[in-house]
């Protein structure tokens, strides 16, 4: 390999934890020759290359698409999920945002419902189990009517799309002092409640999803609004308002 072309260096304080039941601690690392154009995760790749050749255990972290859409990546950078910039995932954050010579603290998304797998990797399967309880429209393949049978207003459709844009990364939970999942659950509930084809199941959906959310150990929402600020897709607090409205509606037995 030819030489790295970057000129920045950083001290990283990274959370290392061998497994879910193992003790964890911060370990300091030095990373040199970082190109400001690379992403935060590519900087971590570079650190791992160095560690590998030094026969040390590379830092475990999750990532996949590396273009901000799959929701796989996510760490807390200096205490903020996905780092200092709004509306961005960790994989699309660039090192030019960090002054050379600085110290950067890197931690996993912390929440009781997201147990640590290893180092910066967490288990977010709680989200899947919440969706499992009703985050869909019950329609079998083959039974769908002609797509243009039901007109849906452009504004309604766009509004539903705003909610549907959630990538399920869990930054909302990590940012919340209560580790609540209200924004994540609210986004799915709102998307499907706005659409006429989703209204049929609204009562069961919200009751079951909220029930599962509580069961998974997510905290209660107390209106901090940190979730919205941390969300890489700018999912708004309005989704939590909808979640509450729908939940109250279901509790009151309204159809």
């Amino acid at each position: 390999m030819s030489a790295h072309i970057g000129n920045r260096s950083y001290t990283l304080k990274i959370w290392r934890q061998a497994g879910p039941d193992k003790p964890g601690r911060f370990v300091d690392y030095r990373v040199e020759n970082v190109d400001p154009a690379v992403s935060f995760l590519e900087m971590l790749d570079q650190l791992n290359e160095d560690l590998t050749l030094k026969r040390e255990d590379p830092v475990a972290f999750d990532s996949d698409c590396r273009e901000g859409i799959c929701g796989t990546c996510g760490v807390c950078i200096d205490g903020r999920p996905h780092g200092p910039l709004p509306h961005i995932t960790t994989c699309t954050l660039r090192m030019r945002e960090f002054s050379s010579g600085g110290v950067i603290t890197v931690e996993p998304f912390r929440a009781n419902a997201f147990p640590i797998v290893k180092d910066l990797v967490v288990d977010r399967s709680a989200f899947d189990r919440v969706i499992r309880r009703g985050g869909y429209i019950s329609v079998n393949v083959g039974s769908a009517p002609e797509a243009n049978m039901t007109p849906i207003g452009k504004d309604v459709s766009e509004d539903a799309m705003d909610s549907a844009a959630c990538i399920g990364c869990g930054a909302c939970v990590a940012a919340c002092p209560n580790a609540a999942a209200a924004l994540f659950v609210g986004a799915k509930v709102r998307q499907l409640t706005l659409l006429p084809q989703g209204r049929v199941e609204r009562v069961h959906r919200v009751s079951n999803m909220v029930g599962q959310m509580d069961h998974e150990g997510f905290g209660n929402c107390s209106n901090h609004g940190e979730c919205e600020a941390a969300c890489p897709k700018a999912i708004s607090l309005e989704n939590i308002a909808t979640l509450r409205r729908e939940y109250a509606r279901a509790a009151l037995g309204l159809r």
Binding site: I5, A37, L41, C65, F127, R133, G142, L195
Partner: protein, 644 residues
């Protein structure tokens, strides 16, 4: 049918007769499994993208027992999620002359006449059902003010037939399939296993009966038994290291099935997309696509003189070469993907590339801003400009974008018949992992269509035919074949972990990517391909001598995962070159320098190469055998594609 028994002749089992009624007649001939008997069959589905997620959901709804595995931590993250542009369907809502036949014809022609007519026609027919299904699931497609669905245009078509959800169509379709899948998990029809990587196929009495997976959290090897196996594991563009694919996209599942006798078809058909954000340095891990719609208003150029290091604004118009407009005056900046990519390569090879690496060309919006105003440009491309700005730190309203081609999609894949079954009975291949529908070049917005078509509407019919018509004894994971497969996998893992050399897995992957990019990328010739094969072999040899794989097998170990995938990619890369060498013609994305017109265009050879080239594995150190499936064009007339 085993590959060895084919005597070089492959039967696609396409139904004959009129093209328009083939699928309907075929469905009438397929055997059925009665509702009460479906629960007696277990189907293993590997992958949860548009193909795998839709297949697992659809089979669960029918009542089969489904075991569904994915490499990601959640099925919602499969790489289909990253598709931007849209999904084609012959709905003809815009009343602009679309039809099933036109979508079929555009797809065949777009693939440069190297796909199977029967499969492509079925795809076009079923496209309309996909849209109905997705809307019913709550996919928020773009709509008109009147509340009905809207369409946009895409490359390779003269009609508007692309349905879309902003620039996130893949995400929305995948979340639709994921919802249906999770509903079946809740119903107990699908057992879901995330963070599992398939490392081997288990074949018993010549039939696919199970798989061996590695649990990526604990490192444990796990056995899964069933009556059929569906691979929905995507393409192999990561063979080039840098591509628009995800970090975990890999070819291990299809490759290990190839080694069990599944034929690998057209491995040299790989698509290099022209408009991606260029490489900035060796630390980079992937390339990001910018929608090709940008070429509607952007002008592509490089300096006229090699080595011109001035910034774009310092280079006067008279010293710029708007090379697409110069070379292809009729289509200008809107030539098809393969043409645009090759032209960009040509000018950078001449030393006229721009940016710090010189491996980029400008896509300039200055004239568009002058002509249309900033507001209109923002309205059309605002989100793309913002994305470009985020990644590069440059404002495309002020300085030209820098773009360069990047590996994006692979048309080649495991060979399947009309029922999507490979040459190993019981092993079915869906989506990008198979080779069937896109020939030598895929049109934009057709990958999503194929994935969902295979999963929702084809496999639910054809899997029943296989299960009902095949004597399948009971097999469980105690069978000796499972133990043997697990031992083989365990030894493979052990061999990788013995690596304590001086180079990382990434170093090797990077070098493999360079070899293939330079010699088997956008432009290929016999000398370069032979060289590539030699270099890959040498690199592969060095890999086993000098790779460093840290950690153990009994833990979450990313380096180990990547090492196994890269080891397979060496072998696949070699087969890719071999196939490119064999195909002495130029077609679609396969450009052989020896076979071009005096104007530098593709020169297809229908007399000798109108076939699917399907390779049979014959041993680690033996030459693979080429089988040919002749392509019969009964409906379309073979024509030359020209863009001058």
């Amino acid at each position: 049918m085993t590959a060895a028994a084919m005597n070089g002749k492959l039967d696609p089992h396409s139904p004959g007769g009129p093209l328009e009624t083939r699928w309907d007649r075929h469905k009438g001939d397929l055997k059925l499994v009665s509702p009460a008997n479906k629960r007696k069959f277990t189907v293993i589905v590997v992958g949860t993208g548009l193909a795998g997620g839709s297949a697992a959901a659809a089979l669960g709804e029918l009542g089969y027992n489904v075991i569904n595995l994915c490499i990601q931590d959640s099925p919602r993250r499969a790489h289909s999620v990253a598709a931007q542009g849209g999904i084609n369907a012959a709905k003809n809502y815009p009343n602009d002359g679309d039809s099933v036949y036109r979508l079929f014809y555009d797809t065949i022609k777009g693939g440069d006449f190297r796909a199977r007519e029967s499969n492509v026609y079925r795809l076009a027919q079923l496209s309309v059902n996909i849209i109905d299904q997705c809307v019913a699931q709550g996919v928020p497609f773009a709509r008109e003010y009147g509340g009905l669905l809207t369409n946009r245009s895409f490359g390779g078509a003269q009609v508007s037939r692309t349905f879309y959800a902003r620039g996130q169509t893949g995400q929305q379709l995948l979340l639709g399939a994921y919802g249906s899948l999770m509903r079946q998990v809740e119903a107990g029809r699908v057992q879901l296993f995330a963070r599992r990587e398939m490392l081997d196929l288990v074949v018993i009495d010549g039939r696919a009966r199970g798989i061996i997976c590695r649990n990526l959290v604990s490192g444990a090897l796990e056995r899964y038994a069933g009556d059929a196996v569906l691979l929905c594991t995507g393409g192999y563009a990561t063979v080039y290291f840098l591509s628009t694919n995800a970090v975990n996209s890999n070819a291990t599942a299809i490759w290990r099935c190839y080694k069990h006798g599944a034929l690998f078809a057209n491995p040299c058909f790989t698509q290099i997309h022209p408009t991606c954000i260029p490489l900035v340095g060796e630390q980079q891990s992937k390339l990001t696509l910018m929608s090709e719609s940008l070429r509607n208003d952007g002008r592509v150029w490089v300096p006229k003189n090699p080595g011109d290091n001035r910034s774009a604004d310092q280079i006067p118009d008279s010293e710029r070469d708007y090379f697409l407009e110069r070379m292809y005056p009729a289509f200008g900046n809107l030539v098809p993907r393969d043409i645009a990519s090759r032209a960009a390569k040509r000018v950078t090879d001449e030393g006229r590339g721009v940016g710090s690496t010189k491996l980029a060309v400008y896509l300039d919006f200055a004239d568009a801003v002058k002509r249309l105003g900033v507001d209109t440009v923002r309205e059309r491309y605002g989100n793309l400009f913002q994305m470009y700005d985020e990644i590069t730190g440059e404002d495309p309203y002020k300085v030209p974008m820098r773009i360069f081609p990047a590996p994006h999609y692979t048309m080649g894949g495991l060979w399947v018949d009309y029922n999507l079954m490979s040459t190993i009975p019981g092993l079915h291949i869906l989506g990008e992992a198979n080779f069937s529908d896109h020939g030598a070049n895929r049109l934009g917005a057709s990958a999503l269509m194929q994935g969902l078509c295979d999963g929702y509407f084809v496999i639910p019919y054809t899997i029943g035919h296989y299960l009902a018509g095949t004597p399948l004894g009971t097999v469980n994971t105690d069978h000796a074949a499972f133990a043997a497969a697990e031992t083989k996998v365990r030894e493979g893992v052990k061999r990788l972990l013995a690596g304590r050399g001086k180079k990382t897995v990434r170093d090797f992957h990077w070098e493999l990517g360079r070899i293939l990019w330079d010699r088997a990328g956008m432009s290929r010739n016999a000398t370069g391909l032979r060289e590539a094969i030699e270099k890959i072999r040498a690199l592969r040899h060095e890999f086993w001598e000098n790779v460093c794989v840290p950690g153990s097998g009994e833990e979450f170990n990313k380096s180990l995962e990547m090492a196994g995938r890269v080891a397979d990619l060496f072998e696949l890369g070699e087969l890719l070159c071999r196939d490119a060498l064999q195909r002495e013609e130029s077609c679609g994305c396969h450009f052989r320098e020896e076979h071009q017109t005096p104007e530098g265009e593709l020169q297809r050879d229908d007399a000798h190469y109108a076939f699917v080239g399907a390779w049979e594995y014959t041993g680690d150190n033996a030459e693979p055998t080429l089988h040919r499936e002749p392509l019969q064009f009964e409906t379309v007339h073979l024509a030359t594609r020209s863009y001058k």
